[in-house]
Symmetry: C2
Subunit: 203 residues, 2 copies
Amino acid sequence: MIVEGIRQMLRPETDLHIVAQAHDGPQALAVLASQPSVRVALLDLNMPGMSGVELTRAIRADWPDVRVLVLSMFHDHATVAEVLEAGGAGYVLKTASRAELSTAIRQVAGGNTYFSAEVADTLLQNLQILAASPQPDQRPALTRREQEILQFIAREYSNLQIAEELFISERTVETHRRNLLAKTESKSVVGLIQYAIRHKLIS
Amino acid sequence: MIVEGIRQMLRPETDLHIVAQAHDGPQALAVLASQPSVRVALLDLNMPGMSGVELTRAIRADWPDVRVLVLSMFHDHATVAEVLEAGGAGYVLKTASRAELSTAIRQVAGGNTYFSAEVADTLLQNLQILAASPQPDQRPALTRREQEILQFIAREYSNLQIAEELFISERTVETHRRNLLAKTESKSVVGLIQYAIRHKLIS
DNA sequence: GGCAGCCTCCGTACCAGTACGTATTTTTTA
DNA sequence: TAAAAAATACGTACTGGTACGGAGGCTGCC
């Protein structure tokens, strides 16, 4: 029903060719297998059986050149993020007009991404969490020197190598290393690296 | 000059109070030190001396409650990403209208983020790279057992502990560990953990 | 049946990191 | 300027990972 609706909706757009359609996940995968010309897969996130996210992931895994455009009623952050993580290239709300939908398809086909305005808002709102949020980080901060040492550790330098690099004694490096382990409450370099990554001190 | 222009521009917005102004980075930091009531710092990315990104970082480090709104002529991805990474909460182009600028200030003051439309586009375009890009990951896959071992290593288990946990010999764990190091091309457990995190095998 | 890949196990040797204690100099902060 | 924090440095001892080489059993596939 919905599939047919979209088909009718896009009929006037003469540059868009609907080459196939399917009613659930497995069917979609089967269709893709026999239709090498598909460039964009437009799919309803809320489908029977296999979830839209799973299907997205499956498509991306088997046909990396097929761009996935997701159609959904909701735009909460968790869902949108999941779709992106699964490899979705666009996310359009079901309230979108024909004009918006066709624009989205063209954008996605062209290698770009497309997000409905509300979806984009959601994403940007959450960039805050990813990159710009005030982090109430109330643990003992690492000193400048310690952070520096940590950089080298993360690059798999040995204590001796670090010492030579910084023109200090190996013993000093050992001490810094000990303090790092204590401050990050890790038993070994393993926890240290995880701490560093979590706190975006490296990579 | 620019500072004065913005001041005049925002004068009609009666709910916004300009409590201080500065002409370069160090001056801004000094002003902040003496003005505890500042909630939003509006700064030109292209300033003399200290770069806007540096100033952003400095502000976030010393006054985590001050929200930084950046004003810039450009919106290339590298620059925007840098600002975000430094802790900026918003990014407005200099072509913005008074209405947009005041909206941005209010959004940022309210704990949200704000990005001019073009900037938002740039960001969304690059989400593709962050989250939806096809990753040609053509390295030897880890076996089930190896992944299992890796989980324990990430949790800071020693070889002996892993052995006991899995009812196998410590030697076997050592061998798996060696194979893991080889497959991930890392010199030590340091690289191993980074590999695991990058490939979402842990945490 | 044979081959490949995985999981299992052993020994020897070495080195790097870790634990713990102590102490001086330099820099920052109160 | 005194106190606190950071950076510097040393010694001893021990543990745990790493390098290297070898080997047998099991499963699944051609």
